[in-house]
């Protein structure tokens, strides 16, 4: 029995992620579900910080916890008249379909995780410098991601225009 602090923290975070993921999908109240999801995202950010990848952790916090969850809460408050009412139980067939999908997804993920040969890290240990992240995002050579970055920004632009179009159509 020799568990280091790192492992303790990791298992604690993993337990939080697992517990709150289950709570997110099983709770009967919409807003609680969003809150549990927030905890899952916090714990995920915690794992990034543990991996010394502070940039991704901060992005996780600001985009997901600070942005997406707030959009969720906003949309729940704005659209659902009965945000405080409990949801009704799902039909058995739907529960079954969901379970099958979950098991299949877990299986694929496990298979990929176990079968993938993880190479040694290309980066030196310690925090990933922001400069490296920046050049990787803005470069065009191998292991650099300018094209996906721009494609995603075009996708977002399309989303914004679509949203405005839907909103303007009375």
């Amino acid at each position: 029995m020799n568990i280091s602090i790192q492992e303790t923290v990791f298992f604690a975070l993993a337990a939080v992620i697992g517990l709150f993921s289950i709570l997110t999908v099983t709770t009967k109240r919409l807003l609680r579900s969003a809150t549990y999801l927030l905890f899952v995202l916090f714990a995920t950010a915690g794992i990034y910080f543990q991996l010394d990848y502070a940039f991704l952790g901060a992005v996780q916090l600001t985009i997901y916890a600070g942005g997406i969850i707030i959009l969720y809460v906003f949309s729940i408050l704005l659209t659902n008249q009965q945000a405080d009412e409990k949801l009704e139980r799902l039909k058995n067939s739907k529960v079954l379909a969901g379970a099958v999908a979950a098991v299949a997804g877990a299986g694929i993920t496990l298979f990929l995780l176990l079968a993938h040969p993880f190479g040694p890290s290309r980066l030196a240990s310690g925090e990933v410098p922001v400069k490296a992240v920046g050049t990787a995002l803005m470069g065009t050579s191998k292991y650099q991601y300018l094209l996906p970055f721009e494609v995603i920004s075009i996708l977002l632009l399309a989303c914004i225009i679509g949203g405005i179009m839907i909103a303007r159509k009375r």
Partner: protein, 358 residues
Amino acid sequence: MFDFSIITRWIDQLLRGVMPDAAATVVECVLIGLALLLGYAVIALALIYVERKVCAWFQCRLGPNRVGPFGLLQSVADMIKMLIKEIIEIKHVDKFLFGLAPYIVIIASVTAFACLPFGRGLQVLDFNVGIFFLIAVSSIGIVGILLAGWASNNKYSLIGAMRSGAQMISYELSIGLSILTMVVLSGTLQVSGIVEGQVDGWYLFKGHLPAVIAFVVYLVAGTAETNRGPFDLPEADSELTAGYHTEYSGMHFGFFYLAEYLNMFIVAGVAATLFLGGWMPLHVPGWAGFNEVMDYIPSIAWFFGKVGVMIFVIMWFKWTFPRLRIDQLLRLEWKYLLPINLLNLLLMVIVVVYKLHF
């Protein structure tokens, strides 16, 4: 200039001498947490006192002057009152979310507080994305406010929370962009790096015009971000009683109250760090004697002095300007601050690329 890391290193070695590394780390975390919370509470008490005094002076009054000399113990007395007050349970609310909301707000605030550089070697969290991390955690507070407003089961609270959400999301853009402008100038996101970069002059002077514009925009957006001053629509005592914390009592309300004041401190602290050099003394390149004299003032005094000035300016806003309407608020952000900010960012990039800064 005294380096506080001597003390922290000494404590570190002392602890590692008597216990294994892992235990020492845990003990250090607990110690740092305690120190942070203590500093947080003391600063909040001081700020509440200062706010009441400054508010009174702006209104030609004297402010609290009964409890203790010059009313200095007033906020301590308030704190004791707050601590022993009953936490009222509201019927028909989601108790879990109702209880959770103040904690989310206060945790976000404390975490952002931990990123501030209080003095040379006196900084708790110093990631290489420090200033970005600070914005990230401070944005979590909005979730707490939204949950508080919704869980209160009160339409005024909900309106306050929605206003707060819209306002904070909008103004976060301006804060982010003005901080980005300064990051372009400094070339680093790390808080300690930003402070070290101002050893030969503060960025407000080094970056001249774009830095001054960014400074003003940051102050306006920061005031809005803390739900204060002319931007206090989420609370709007006269319309919404107290907005999202109407239904809270006792220490739960105390958490919102503390977080509000500490958010002001954090905004002021970030302004001091980015524009006024954090704990860095006023250095003028070429004036060696002057710089030497300035170095004798301890770094922590420099930091708190600058933050104090910034806090005074934010309070000055609050007690001068009337409250904005929600449409005016959003127009100010989207039609004025944001375009100015984007142009300013461009200007700063030009200044940096052509080395036009000092």
